[in-house]
């Protein structure tokens, strides 16, 4: 035990001599926009935030002009609302309380599969724009209650390709716990019951959704500290995503 402590101390001394830390001042001034068109809902939310480089400073901004233009040329202007229920609030989450919400019913608009939609956000003299293609609606409700599922099982899912979808997202949501997401290009997936996503003793909901290219690109990579690259940002003038999803199926599993 003593030799272990000595060894650990030696490594700690060497490591502390190797790595130097210095205080830096973040200089980023970016508009951050998160907007996903959901083919199955009639109100679409857009989150607009300002960041000065630190996560804690990433806050929603007021007074922005947010519009979505349909393929037919209809310009839908978002209402600025305060709705904290739109977020699965967590203590470490960036502060978001302001939502820019568009009611499709107000404009008599139905999202058209394959249609190109344009987002425009104007705030403080900055303009952020992006476009997306909405996948076709493909939701198929599953009947019955929760299926039994054990850790020794493997969940195998397959679904038909959805028109205008670029890729698919599979999420495993243990009720009351953080969900796991898999963004994949394929129409099949096998998830081991012994792995990370499932939570034993709980109801786990598995959801499959079709997503567009922006959504797929934005979430399929994380940023690389060394190169400054990673997240693929398709917005012009800001950072974030303007994407689209269409839920395909949901399965409820009672995990033992």
């Amino acid at each position: 035990m003593r030799t272990n402590r000595v060894w650990t101390a030696i490594i700690a001394v060497i490591a502390s001599g190797c790595v130097q830390q210095e205080v830096v001042s973040p200089s980023a001034r970016e508009l951050i926009v998160h907007a996903i068109l959901d083919a199955d809902v009639r109100t679409q939310d857009v989150i607009v935030q300002q960041s000065n480089g630190t996560v804690s400073s990433q806050v929603g901004i007021v007074g922005a002009t947010v519009t979505i233009t349909t393929p037919e040329g209809t310009v839908m202007t978002a209402d600025e609302v305060r709705d904290s229920t739109a977020f699965a609030v967590q203590s470490f989450m960036a502060k978001v309380g302001i939502i820019y919400r568009i009611s499709l019913d107000r404009y008599g608009v139905t999202l058209v599969p394959g249609g190109i939609y344009k987002l425009t956000v104007i705030s403080g003299g900055h303009t952020v724009t992006g476009t997306t293609i909405v996948p076709a609606r493909a939701f198929v409700a599953t009947a019955g209650g929760a299926e039994p599922f054990s850790a020794s099982d493997t969940l195998r899912l397959a679904w038909r390709p959805v028109p205008f979808a670029h890729a698919y997202e599979v999420s495993v949501s243990p009720l009351g716990r953080t969900a796991s997401y898999y963004t994949i290009p394929d129409t099949t997936i096998a998830i081991s019951g012994s792995g990370v996503p499932f939570s034993a003793g709980r109801t786990n909901v598995v959801t499959v959704a079709a997503v567009d290219a922006n959504y797929y690109d934005y979430f399929r990579r994380s940023s690389d500290q060394f190169t400054g690259s990673g997240v693929i940002n398709r917005l012009e003038g800001g950072i974030g995503v303007f994407g689209a999803v269409s839920r395909i199926t949901t399965r409820v599993l009672a995990v033992k």
Partner: protein, 787 residues
């Protein structure tokens, strides 16, 4: 009495020859080739015809004509053979061989220019000393004045070494070492060469990307010759005889790479007694063993190494460092009859890292090389002399990393089958080489993870395929006058990987302003159709992940132009200045937008240029001091498809290396100082939280795994600080228990200078950045034991 006198004289001559040779130059005597084996004087043109004279008289005549001394036994019966040689102009080497052929003798030459002509059953010359097998035939030989000719000087005199450096093992070992001697780390101290960090696999040649260098062991390709993610090379140092590095103007026999070619040659055993070394360092032990056999007509060498840091750490903490590597390298040469030579090289290396449980992450990688060469002299077939050589090789690199708990796996496999043949014709002042190369590479790369990525070090992608390539090449060297040397080469590559390989002409010329000063110029076209998926800007590059140019895309192409000036200040001091300009077209580099969903998008095209100036002042070994000072200025820029122009990560503008080795009786002191301007880096200016839309709850949630993403300034728009590193070493030579021992102490980064290789930013609390350091202050020690 006379025999005794001859024996004494021959023994004295042998001793005189052996002493300086073993002390300064381990090059052996070898059969003379018509090109003079690189000894310039043997290319002297002689005009003569000989009618009905004894071979001995003919040899004397030729020697007198050329102004050289040569050693032979005039009373031997073979030299009484009558010789008739038609009158015409030929090289001295060819003239000697013509006479030797008639009188059934062989001509041996050392790199120092010493020439011995002997009947086949008589003198054997090897290992830097002349022996006489049959004492009954020993005779008084004329005194010979021997002037050392070094490999470097021979290369200067006879080769178009416009952009190449040849270093023998002694020079390489003179540099201070990190833990243990390493060929590739020594190479990085030469002008024009540099690496992204101390932790990178691969090196950059004259502004090129790190995957643009062809690395070979005895001429056979090896794809990832590194251990521990680039910290050590796979080459076992005592088994290395010399290295030849081409930094531009690549000869036509080298294809498939744009910027450089490094050929590491195995050491040649030097005695018919079994001998070798055992070396113990802090992390590994290695041994070599070799000998010649069958009167020096054959030799073999075996070397092996294993690291034992895992064993040492395990002593303190169970499975505390579950990693080790091991290598075995072997080389066999065998002369078959008078004209055939068979050589074989084998290498097997492996790294292994694994946890202590079944589910622990594990990784392993390794290289295997097996190459065979069969060469034959064809006599005077369509030339003064001709040689043909056929080579075949199999090379494999494999790597696997698996973290099943996190459902992440990386799998890479490269298998290279290659056959190369060449015909060399020597005609007086010209030589021609015609060759072919056919190769197949089987490539497979698969990386998958449930995470968004694997940290940038392992691109998440899946690429597999086969590449078939057929190539023809010719190299033609012509010396129109004693002061002028021209080399014209042409290479035709036909490959099913990408398009546009085609014809690659290469030309270079050298003009001797004086006996010690030469200027040179060269230009050429090069193409490359295998690329690494490893991103150059990553400070840690564990491997080069090789993939082919995707179908339908253009292969990378580079055109270069070089100028050089070389001056021998003294017989042991060289000054070399080289300038270059390189233009890259269709340069294929890893794409940051690569999508596993989309085939053939893993590479993207850049264009760009690199130009610069290299300076080298070198003091050759042999005296109390040896070493070099090198300085490189380089400027590289690349332009992507959007028109954005940037400095690539290898764009180090200034790089100064001072390398010295001082001998003081039994001690040898080594010093290496490197001062270099900073490499480009991308500054991170902030972070943001990536929110995720949940299609089930239709609420926004925080990204569960990697929530904070970076906000960065334009790519490579800033630079790392200056790099300063001073290494020092001391070696003591002595004997213990009858064995030659060389204990050494080496200190890396004596001043413990902070040399950031990259920065890690954090903006979630108090904003700060931590530097990922290059090698810190590390003292190491070891011992080399020769037996």
């Amino acid at each position: 009495m006379m025999r005794f006198a001859r024996l004494v004289l021959v023994s004295l001559l042998g001793a005189c020859l052996a002493a300086p040779l073993t002390a300064q130059d381990s090059t052996s005597f070898d059969d003379l080739r018509p090109d003079g084996n690189g000894v310039r004087v043997l290319r002297t043109q002689v005009s003569l015809g000989i009618t009905n004279q004894t071979a001995g008289s003919a040899l004397s005549l030729v020697a007198r004509e050329a102004g050289i001394s040569l050693t032979y036994e005039p009373t031997h019966r073979n030299f009484q053979t009558l010789v008739n040689i038609p009158a015409h102009t030929r090289s001295l080497a060819v003239a000697l061989l013509e006479i030797a052929k008639i009188c059934d003798a062989r001509v041996l030459v050392s790199l120092r220019g010493q020439v011995v002509v002997s009947p086949y059953e008589g003198v054997r010359a090897q290992l830097g000393r002349v022996e006489v097998a049959d004492t009954a035939k020993k005779t008084a030989l004329p005194a010979v004045r021997v002037e050392a000719l070094r490999t470097e000087r021979l290369s200067f005199d006879n080769a178009l070494n416009v952009n190449s450096v040849t270093m023998n093992a002694e020079a390489l070992r003179a540099t201070p070492m990190f833990v243990e001697p390493d060929v590739l780390k020594s190479i990085q101290l030469l002008p024009g060469i540099e690496a992204r960090s101390d932790w990178s696999a691969g090196f950059n040649v004259r502004g090129g990307e790190s995957d643009q260098s062809l690395i070979m062991l005895d001429g056979y390709p090896i794809y990832n010759p590194f251990h521990l993610g680039g910290v050590f090379s796979t080459f076992i140092d005592p088994a290395v005889g010399k290295v030849e590095l081409h930094m531009g103007g690549l000869p036509a026999r080298f294809g498939g790479r744009l910027s450089g070619a490094l050929d590491v040659s195995s050491a040649q055993p030097t005695t018919n007694e079994r001998h070798g070394t055992v070396e113990l360092s802090l992390i590994s032990s290695m041994f070599t063993m070799g000998r010649t056999f069958d009167s020096a007509n054959g030799s073999w060498l075996v070397a092996a190494r294993r690291s034992y840091a895992d064993v040492v750490v395990n002593f303190f903490q169970t499975n505390g460092f579950p990693y080790h590597f091991e290598d075995v390298q072997t080389r066999v040469d065998r002369r078959l009859g008078s004209n055939w030579r068979l050589s074989a090289t084998g290498y097997l290396g492996r790294d292994k890292a694994s946890g202590d449980t079944v589910n622990s992450p594990y990784g392993g990688w390794g290289n295997s090389v097996l190459g065979i060469s069969l060469a034959r002299g064809l006599g005077a077939w369509r030339s003064d002399s001709a040689f043909v050589e056929q080579r075949a090789s199999w090379t494999r690199f494999w790597a696997v990393g698996d973290a099943s708990e996190f459902r992440s796996r990386v799998d890479n496999d490269v298998t290279d089958y290659r056959a190369t043949g060449s015909l060399k014709l020597h005609r007086g002042s010209a030589s021609n080489v015609f060759g072919y190369e056919v190769s197949t590479q089987k490539l497979r790369y698969q990386a998958a993870t449930v995470f968004a990525d694997l940290g940038g070090f392992f691109p998440v992608d899946s690429v597999s395929g086969q590449v078939h390539t057929a190539s023809l090449f010719t190299e033609n060297t012509w010396r129109p006058s004693a002061n002028f040397l021209v080399d014209a080469g042409l290479r035709l590559d036909l490959t099913d990987a990408g398009t546009g390989a085609g014809l690659s002409p290469r030309i270079s010329a050298k003009y001797f302003l004086s006996h010690d000063v030469a200027i040179s110029a060269g230009a050429g076209r090069y193409s490359q159709w295998l690329h690494s998926l490893g991103r150059g800007e990553e400070p840690l590059q564990p491997f080069q992940f090789w993939v082919p140019t995707p179908a339908g895309k253009r292969v990378s192409v580079m055109h270069d132009a070089t100028l050089g000036l070389e001056r021998w200040k003294t017989p042991t001091q060289i000054i070399h200045v080289g300038a270059y300009f390189k233009r890259y077209d269709h340069l294929q580099v890893p794409s940051i937008f690569s999508d596993p969903l989309v085939p053939n998008d893993e590479l993207t095209e850049l264009r760009g240029t690199s130009y610069g100036l290299d300076f080298l002042w070198r003091q050759l070994d042999g005296g109390d001091f040896s070493g070099w000072m090198s300085y490189s200025y380089a400027l590289s820029s690349r332009t992507d498809q959007t028109g954005y122009q940037f400095f690539p990560t290898q764009d180090r503008r200034h790089n100064l290396n001072l390398v010295g080795s001082w001998r003081d009786d039994a001690f040898t002191w080594g010093l290496r100082a490197n001062i270099a301007s900073g490499l480009p880096t991308t500054p991170v200016t902030g972070q943001f939280s990536r929110d995720r839309y949940d299609a089930l709850t239709r609420k926004w949630v925080l990204e569960p795994l990697v929530r904070n993403q970076v906000i960065a300034d334009p790519f490579n728009s800033d630079r790392l600080p200056f790099y300063l590193r001073i290494d020092a070493s001391v070696t003591r030579e002595g004997r213990l228990f009858g064995l030659a021992m060389k204990p050494y102490l080496s200190v890396v980064n004596v001043t413990n200078a902070s040399n950031p290789a990259a920065y890690l930013y954090s903006f979630s609390g108090r904003p700060n950045r931590a530097s990922l350091p290059n090698l810190p202050f590390v003292p190491t020690f070891g011992v080399s034991i020769a037996y």
